[in-house]
């Protein structure tokens, strides 16, 4: 029983290690996500009036739109490379529980998203003179990213098998990710504006509930999404 769990964890770890190793050799995914994120922030500079008075109220929203778009990019590319190079078939042939593939990919995608977010935060802080390196905000980013990536990985696995692959992921993901985005933006905003923790707890709870519910469902249905 314990041996089975250990091999499961090894499988998950192997997939994460594979993604990380491949990525750090080419760095194509991270650089694309990062440049894209910075471009989005740049566009927001012109699209919204980010002068000093309004800046504090829209920062949370700008950040999360950026993360959502960059995250979509990462999810797409991550699953696409699996499909195109036949890695997914290889993984499916391996004698591991299919859900290990899901967790491996999801955690890998989460790490990519977190790396981008960790770089974006100080850059944004410098550009707009706001201190974003607060523990509360980082917690929200972690919880929000987990939720986003858990649904996103499953939907990306479906999307790469569809003809209209690049456009399908946002169409499928955004309506389902609304609760994460709302809760993450409100919670981020709460921490940035210095609201009392009691007010922010609602949003944090919502994030946690979403994360648990959707990770569970994704884990249960992943088999159906990859079977031939």
């Amino acid at each position: 029983m314990f041996a089975h769990f250990k091999s499961y964890l090894q499988a998950v770890g192997a997939i994460i290690w594979k993604d990380m190793a491949a990525e750090f050799r080419s760095r194509e995914l991270l650089s694309a996500m990062l440049v894209f994120a910075l471009l989005v922030i740049l566009i927001f500079n012109f699209a919204l009036e980010l002068d000093i008075s309004t800046r504090s109220s829209v920062t949370a929203g700008v950040l999360w739109v950026t993360f959502a778009f960059a995250g979509t990019l990462g999810l797409n590319r991550s699953m696409a490379s699996e499909k195109d190079r036949g890695c997914l078939d290889g993984l499916l042939l391996a004698p591991v529980d299919r859900s290990a593939i899901y967790f491996g990919k999801a955690i890998g995608n989460l790490l990519f998203m977190l790396i981008v977010e960790i770089i974006v935060l100080p850059v944004y802080s410098v550009l707009y003179n706001i201190n974003l390196l607060q523990p509360g905000l980082i917690l929200v980013i972690l919880l929000g990213s987990i939720g986003y990536v858990s649904v996103g990985t499953l939907l990306a696995t479906m999307a790469v098998q569809i003809r209209t692959r690049d456009i399908m992921l946002p169409i499928l993901l955004f309506p389902l990710a609304i609760p994460v985005l709302i809760a993450a933006v409100k919670a981020s905003d709460g921490f940035l504006q210095g609201f009392p923790l009691a007010d922010i707890m609602t949003w944090l709870n919502l994030l946690i509930v979403y994360d648990i519910v959707f990770i569970t469902i994704a884990f249960m249905v992943f088999d159906y999404v990859v079977e031939e």
Binding site: M158, Q161, R163, T164, L176, P179, F214, Y224
Partner: protein, 231 residues
Amino acid sequence: MVEKTRLLTIFDILTFIFMLVAIGLVFFYAPVEEIMGQVQKVFYFHVANAWVGMLGFTVAAVMGGIYLWKGERKWDIAGFAAIEISFVFFLVAIISGSIWARPAWNTWWTWDPRLTTASIVELIYAAYLLLRRGVDDPNRRARFSAVYAIFGFLSVPLTFISIRLLRTIHPVVVGGADPSAQGGFNMTGPMKATFFFSLFAFSVFFVDLLWHRIRLGKLQEKIENLRWHKN
């Protein structure tokens, strides 16, 4: 399966009669409401359509679950039928609500929790339909549709709650003092009767359309099989 079964024909006639009666009740039996006048009558159809739209989503999610469990194509056909017709019913609900809103609230649209959630649900339907279009293999299409229907359905309560929390903290400026804006206006006897009958008639209409659509789906599957086997 080529000819329409007798039962379906009878059901068609019944549906037609019920809908006629419902329309008749709305225009001739239900009293004209004091504050809003004739416009209020849109509500009888608006709520019925919205109810049926959400019912369809539930049906589709359940069908999806059963398909994943059993693997028989008929559940997929039923799920697709449910989403496709719910898409239209819900769209009618949204548009009729908008028509009601203009004279009542002086705006075509407002971003209150119910309307926002409704627009998200409609977009989930659209995403589902696009998803089906993009997959050629019928088994894969069925599996993906089932998964997405389940995911979509389960996301709706969380979406509604999160938007509700969002909007109660930042109240929406537009929203009439009109109590029926909250859907809780006092209905007199005849109004209640009309309302519930309308709900019933539209539910029957939904089942009738669903039946037809499932029939159509099965015929489509037959054609697909013939085409495939021929090649």
